[in-house]
């Protein structure tokens, strides 16, 4: 069981690291998609079937496409990222930011009591129970998330749309 987790973690972290190190933006995006698939595999390992498939459907299917389209549509010409050394100010700034984020994350990880007494794990939720929960007690949260996403989508269209007089009908 832990061997599978190790394998998943290796693939996940490996593809994430490769995505960061790759000089080619398209390769980075595809490797990032691999990392998302790895997260889905982890969910499967943890027994959260529904979340795993949703992760694949949303991230591997949809978000990866958004990323790829964004890369292709915004970069004219080369898809290689500029990696020249810029200035010491940027180096220091990046180290401070990375250190801060890493510190907060590590603090959260170490602050969480990991060796909780092995409580009798609750029976795996069926999809039906999940659905009833989402449509019952959490219906408001679901609706709010939906509204926020719709607003974001409309906002993106408004920002991206160029008001151009339409061509006269031929």
């Amino acid at each position: 069981m832990s061997f599978a987790l190790l394998l998943i973690a290796l693939v996940l972290l490996g593809s994430a690291a490769a995505a960061m190190l790759s000089r080619n933006l398209i390769h980075s995006a595809l490797l990032l998609t691999g990392a998302w698939a790895g997260i889905a595999a982890f969910y499967l390992w943890a027994g959260a079937e529904f979340v795993a498939f949703a992760q694949v459907l949303v991230y591997v299917g949809a978000v990866s496409m958004v990323v790829l389209f964004a890369v292709l549509l915004t970069r004219q010409g080369a898809t290689a990222a500029p990696v020249e050394f810029d200035s010491y100010k940027r180096v220091v700034g990046s180290i401070i930011t990375a250190g801060g984020v890493g510190g907060v994350l590590l603090g959260a990880i170490f602050g969480t009591p990991l060796d909780v007494p092995a409580a009798p794990s609750p029976a795996a939720l069926t999809v039906r129970q999940l659905g009833l929960q989402l449509m019952g007690p959490y219906a408001a949260a679901l609706l709010i998330v939906g509204v926020i996403l719709t607003v974001a989508l409309l906002g993106a269209i408004v920002i991206a749309a160029v008001d151009k007089p339409e061509d006269p009908a031929p």
Partner: protein, 408 residues
């Protein structure tokens, strides 16, 4: 699933055979052998199904066009045995394997190689959750429908990899067009299945197939396609499935007479064949899902026909769906890209959303009996048919009758 001994022998035969083979192995290995056998069975059955789909397609299209089709290939060493050209797919396979594999010098070698592999691997994943028979379901998942659609999403990634990895302008542009089509039609495809999930209250393909059991007076099956919302959903599903699997009349991604071959321009030999293999696997898996969700799965259409084993019913329906798709390919003309996307966003998506409301109405009025049942059918049918005509009339206004400006 446990096998009930009261079923006919043919019904249980595949499982008995599997258990007999598994029984020869030590207990520690039995789970592995069990799964490997299932995988081998799927690969063999659907590999052969794919092979004979290609020959059926070529022969049927030929007949539709008043030709004979391939009828020459026989067997080596048996020259007198012609077999109506049925060995053609094997000759095709040998040809595809022995052809030279050309990779452009500037292509992204890894992605160019990976794209056909990914597309075939993921197109096979969908078969894992289809109930091929009463007891024949490779993996029983609670969220099977979600799994099916999740497995299909990698197709888009593979097409992108093929288009971008070829380092060819036409490949990339065609891949973007293909992606636009796949993303557009994913929505009506999923939305057409959601009503069934709503009414049956489950995402498990096994339970959906079971929910369509039973007959009225022994002859009228309770399949979802025989309800107003199910019929509308099935039609939307058919159109979206055609578009998702790049079939004519939606085969714009690989429009061999207008584009060179779209994102397949730089592919040759076996890699080229792999893309088509994936296309047929995808079509077969989608047909299987359509059968499970709308056409009663492995259920027999009449009570007295139940003596035929359930897996035979499933494969028969599958063959029927494939022949229907081939018939459509031989009949309809290819769409333009603007017509294609307009059909998805302005027509299919609104209708699918309305159909979802229709299914909700159907689920809420399940208690209506007697004359109210007739009202239920009438209202449900009206919810589908009236918007269909209104929307269709509005969208085609100004398009007909066709006027020819440059031709007499």
């Amino acid at each position: 699933m446990s096998v009930v001994a009261t079923d006919s022998f043919l019904e249980r035969a595949p499982l008995l055979f599997r258990d007999w083979i598994v029984g020869h192995f030590p207990v520690a290995l039995q789970w592995l052998v069990h799964h490997l056998l299932t995988i081998t069975a799927i690969l063999t059955v659907f590999g052969l199904f794919f092979a004979f789909t290609t020959i059926a397609e070529r022969k049927l299209l030929a007949r539709l066009q008043n030709r004979l089709g391939p009828n020459r290939s026989g067997l080596p060493w048996f020259r007198t045995l012609k077999l109506w050209g049925l060995t053609q797919p094997f000759a095709d396979a040998i040809k595809a394997i022995t052809k030279e594999d050309i990779v452009p010098a500037v292509a992204d070698q890894v992605l160019h190689f990976l794209a056909p592999v990914v597309i075939v691997a993921f197109s096979l994943l969908g078969f894992a959750v289809l109930p091929f028979g009463r007891y024949l379901i490779p993996v029983e998942l609670d969220a099977a429908i979600l799994y099916f659609f999740a497995a299909g999403t990698a197709t888009e990634l593979a097409i992108f990899m093929a288009g971008w990895g070829s380092r060819n302008k036409y490949s990339l542009l065609a891949a973007m067009r293909a992606l636009a089509q796949l993303i557009s039609y994913e929505l009506p495809l999923i939305l057409s299945v959601v009503p069934v999930v709503l009414v049956t209250g489950t995402l498990s393909t096994r339970d959906i197939a079971l929910a369509q059991g039973g007959w009225t007076w022994g002859v009228l099956p309770h399949w979802h396609v025989f309800t107003p919302w199910g019929f509308a959903g099935f039609l939307i599903f058919l159109v979206a499935a055609l578009a998702e699997s790049n079939r004519s009349p939606f085969d714009l991604p690989e429009a061999e007479s207008e584009l060179i071959a779209g994102h397949l321009t730089e592919y040759s030999g076996f890699k080229y064949a792999l893309f088509f293999m994936a296309e047929y696997f995808g079509l077969t898996a989608l047909s299987g899902l359509g059968i499970t969700v709308f056409l009663g799965g492995w259920q027999a259409p009449c009570a007295f026909l139940e003596f035929i084993p359930s897996w035979l019913w499933f494969m028969g329906k599958l063959a029927g769906m494939i022949v229907f798709f081939i018939w459509i390919r031989g009949t309809l003309l290819r769409l333009r890209i603007d017509q294609l996307t307009r059909l998805a966003w302005q027509f299919l998506v609104p209708l699918a959303l309305l159909n979802l409301g229709n299914a909700a109405f159907w689920a809420l009025t399940s208690g209506w009996t007697g004359p109210l049942a007739l009202a239920r059918w009438a209202i449900s049918a009206a919810i589908v048919i009236v918007p269909f005509f209104l929307l269709g009339r509005r969208l085609t206004a100004g398009y007909a009758p066709r006027t020819y400006r440059y031709a007499a």
